[in-house]
Symmetry: C2
Subunit: 406 residues, 2 copies
């Protein structure tokens, strides 16, 4: 008798009919004699509706209150799912994050899970119940409700799977797995049957938007296989795990992209110690995430410093960087919102120079200018003109023969 | 510095504007240097919407799940009210029933409060917070959420007031107090400035629908003065308390009525021990509340037994009573849904026969036939034709000179 943790996202439980349909999927897993724990998100657009309500009474709602408010979304869907299962003759019980033992830090809106004490979950499983846990929520030591921020329900599911020693954590969502590239842009993109945790982390960070990196990191840490699949179809999905077969390793797995990028260049910076800190510490202080930092080789102790930020942060970032650039004696400070990011992802790429050459060659053949290059062990990223991102993805998908599948 | 508990009903917090308006009322109480605890119901029609949602996935939703689901209604309104107060510059915090220490029995949908452990409430008051408690909900010893059934939020408020030693419990609702009769039926009806607990209990049970008897009983038990007033106006409301002045006692305080009544008569019952039990135990078992039981004097060991039930329970009651009537050898079993109830309420009435005579006289003058009479220490009730209830209330209001006020 295996223990399975399943997670269903908001679009999978958007209304009563979808909830009944999800209940039938859960029942199938139970019929195969599994012990089943289900983590569920709030129905459809509930969370945004609750936030709208909050803003109607307070322009800057308190984070603690907002967390209590938002947590009701998952509470509602968890009880409805339990009821739908009972309606089909299955024994089920809903538990709040607190009841399921999800203990968190006291950082409202973005709490981290400190530990999971799944005593009650095990008790209910032992009684023969399917256990439905409200995702996205936890409780502090002081018994205050927190929410886990972005990717919270995915994280709840993987954390429960880890603490229960589950065989697998199945994340059901509105896409049917991880693709070699965004299928809306590349017709030949194919679903990956499996992918390693690290590759998935690069895929997710770089725009795959299938599974939040927090959940993948947790899965890697506790070595929990995570299946990402659609709750709207019976297609097999993508298995994210540590034991990816040797043949699959050392190969480009996918192309990701990000259009919400802007580039900032500080030109003519005196090349002396402390300059980078002087720039990036205030940006971090302003809550702006900086990505793809590149510093050109210094010529006569003058260097250019380029980095990217989320497009939405550009104005705020320029307001921070402008005065500092002046202060440190930089020549000028330029920004460009018309850029995009394409990345090639695959384990062991850095040890295989051929891949970088092939990437640059493919872009060059399309007459696409590369403005910035950064690399990690398993990723090569180029910043290019936003207008050419689609062409770039298609060209790279073809160059790395991704249409052929695993 | 007095401690005040306020309670706001669902219509008082039906939308963002109403919530802001309630926040202003709470702020006024806080400005007078009071320690303020607020109990709040779910917004407007939320509870019914949640029930509808439940029935969409399960025709007979589980009571435990339903309680978790319904409890979210009060959680939402409590956080929004706290946010609205914070928006006005007041320190406020919302607490769930569990956090406020409302410990209950494990009877879902209609839990009783076992005890209140308001430690957290006191802590938050000491920090200078206005404490907003989600009404209607509590928690069992096993840490499962319960709801308190009808009058639940009123009961939460009075129970908190009792456990905190509050000076007063103020129930804000959509009526501005307790009236000498239903003002929709009797134009001359006037608001009572004060009323005793027992009188209020009779008023509430007999159709005043202002405050649930559970809350009044609890107020009497712990001697907590309860003010019932409108959240939509600044009118003074009605104070329910134990120290009603002597002049006000021994007087008819109000006329109440109930149109949702049906009468059942079991005719020709052999008058022997055990007959009443044989009839009423199965009715109780079927969850049917029986009221106004009257057994006529026995003639030749044959008697008639008449009682009333809620009109909605009539068919169910007849299905239970019919076969039993046959079994115990009764002649026949008749029902009449075209009846209504009028009552005259006032402390010490039973010791003042003049009141009964005046009541019967007033009805007789209007040519209203009395079908059934029952009395308690502070109430005389007549069952009459439903069609004549309005006339009866007006006649009685006049006969007891209630238009003159306290």
């Amino acid at each position: 008798m295996a223990l399975i943790v399943q997670k269903y996202g908001g679009s999978s439980v958007a209304d009563a009919e979808r909830i009944k349909s999800v209940a039938r999927r859960i029942a199938q897993a139970r019929d195969k004699d599994n012990r089943v724990v289900v983590v569920v998100s709030a129905m459809g657009d509930t969370t945004n509706e609750l936030i709208r309500l909050a803003y109607q009474v307070n322009r800057r709602p308190d984070d603690r209150e907002l967390d209590v408010l938002l947590s009701t979304g998952e509470t509602v869907s968890s009880t409805l799912l339990a009821m739908a299962l009972e309606n089909m003759g299955y024994e089920a019980i809903s538990l709040s994050g607190a009841q399921a033992g999800i203990r968190t830090t006291t950082v409202y809106r973005g709490a981290r899970i400190l530990k999971v004490d799944p005593k009650r979950v095990v008790q209910e499983l032992d009684k023969g119940n399917i256990v439905i846990v409200a995702g996205f929520q936890g409780i502090t030591e002081g018994m205050d409700i927190t929410t886990l921020g972005r990717g919270g329900s995915d994280t709840t599911a993987v954390a429960l799977a880890a603490s229960l020693g589950a065989e697998i954590c199945q994340i059901y969502t509105d896409v049917d797995g991880v693709y070699s590239a965004d299928p809306r842009l590349v017709a030949e993109a194919h679903r990956l049957d499996e992918i390693g945790y690290e590759e998935m982390l690069e895929m997710a960070s770089y725009g795959a938007r299938v599974l939040h990196p927090r959940a993948v990191e947790l899965g890697e840490l506790y070595n929990i296989p995570i299946l990402v699949a659609s709750s709207f179809s019976d297609r097999p999905g993508t298995l994210i795990h540590g034991g990816v077969s040797m043949e699959v390793r050392n190969k480009v797995r996918g192309i990701t992209h990000d259009l919400e990028v802007a580039k900032i260049t500080v030109i003519g910076v005196p090349d002396r110690p402390g300059i980078a800190a002087a720039l990036f510490q205030p940006l971090a202080g302003a809550g702006i995430s900086v990505d793809n930092i590149v510093q050109n080789a210094s010529i006569e102790n003058i260097t250019d410093l380029t980095f990217t930020v989320a497009e939405g942060d550009l104005d705020k970032a320029m307001a921070v960087v402008g005065p500092i650039a002046k202060e440190i004696g930089a020549k000028e400070c330029a920004s460009d919102a018309k850029v995009g990011k394409v990345s090639v992802i695959g384990t062991g790429m850095q040890n295989t120079p051929g891949y970088a050459a092939r990437m640059f060659g493919a872009l060059s053949q399309q007459d696409i200018n590369i403005q910035l290059i950064t690399t990690s062990e398993i990723r090569i990223t180029c910043i290019i003109s936003k207008a050419r991102v689609k062409d770039a993805i298609r060209a790279l998908h073809q160059a790395f023969e991704l249409e052929q599948g695993d």
